[in-house]
Amino acid sequence: MPDSNEDRLLHSALGRTAECLPVERLETLDAQGRAHVDHCTYCQNELAMLLEFRDAAPKAEEAADIAWMQAELERRLTATPPRLPSPGIWEKAMAWFHQAFPSRGWAAVPVAAALLLLVAGGMYLRTGEERLRPPTGDQVWRSQSFAAIAPVGDVPSAPTELQWDAVPGASQYLVRVMEVDRKEIWRGEAAGTRIALPPEIRSQMTAGRSFLWTVNARDVAGSTLAESALQSFHILATSR
């Protein structure tokens, strides 16, 4: 493939062009990038695959296969340590281990164990990202004393404001908005139970992206009274 003249034409017409965006630019589209994606079938498919890779949660019928894969990978890596593609891998694995376990004696730990950690970490990364994005919009993962109310779950566009429950005795609320890797993109303070998002932050909240936010309630002395549950919202992709 491509085999026939028609296949070759379709390959040429539907394939990547010089104007197509690298995948790193697809995750944070600016206006110019958005304009290209809007009329490029190739980049639209690439963006869809990236979002599916990052955000897809297993369906009920897939859960057993995923559990089997995790068990199988662990079994393979512990039962039969894999042949390493290059000596450099050993050095990297051991460097990781020495960093994680600085005491002596760990040099004898098989690389399989390091790779097992890597696999487990990868599984955790995947499931962790799923935990960061509630499928239904009404799920809260951690709640010590009060709730962040809105926005939560899938929203049609960038929210104009954030709202949360009042905390008795609180005189000030510190609000933080983060990307899904918990990199903070904005923080603000409010005396009441809502705060407006500035336009420059809203402009970053483009279709298909997810964000986390949390609220810290403080008393007049600035001491923390309560920390809200970590909440998440996802800007729905625009449909064509």
Binding site: D3, L9, A13, A48, I89, L115, V119, G122, R126
Partner: protein, 158 residues
């Protein structure tokens, strides 16, 4: 990542093989991750490229996707004039795909013709549940493109 491999292959053992290979590759090239994109985006790039290459290398023969209906656009004469015409044809075809096909049809066509994934892999990756999977979308898309092409000819009515 494991879920994506599973959806692409439709087989948990093949998916476990791919996931293991991707982890090894990610580990090997960890130094190349510079934090300029999300880690999940970096891992996606590795997963996508590795899995697509593996799937394509296992595909044995071209698949029948119905009769050629875009033959007028697909001239292969080697002269420069025709090559220029072919470039125009590709641009015309891009416009027809954009304007005539549904999102799913466009994705199926892109994955099969641009990424060269076998029909079975396209069906699984997109979770298509109709009886003949991606092939039905391709047949439908080609018919739409042929009709749109006929309408786009100078002097065409309607």
């Amino acid at each position: 990542m494991a879920l994506w491999c599973l959806r692409l292959t439709g087989d948990r053992e093949a998916a476990a093989d791919l996931a293991q290979e991707v982890f090894l590759k990610a580990f090997r090239y960890l130094d190349s991750y510079r934090g300029e994109s999300k880690f999940s985006t970096w891992l996606y790039s590795i997963t996508r490229n590795h899995c697509f290459n593996e799937i394509k290398s296992r595909a044995t023969k071209p698949e029948d996707t119905g009769e050629a209906v875009l033959v007028e656009l697909a001239d292969t004469s080697p002269d420069v004039h025709t090559q220029l015409e072919r470039r125009d044809s590709a641009e015309l075809l891009r416009g027809l795909v954009r304007d005539s096909l549904t999102d799913v049809e466009a994705r199926v066509m892109t994955l099969h013709y641009a990424e060269e994934l076998p029909l079975q892999a396209v069906t699984q990756l997109l979770g298509l549940e109709n009886a003949s999977g991606a092939k039905a979308y391709i047949v439908s898309a080609k018919r739409k493109l042929a009709r749109a092409l006929a309408r786009s000819k100078p002097g065409a009515r309607g």
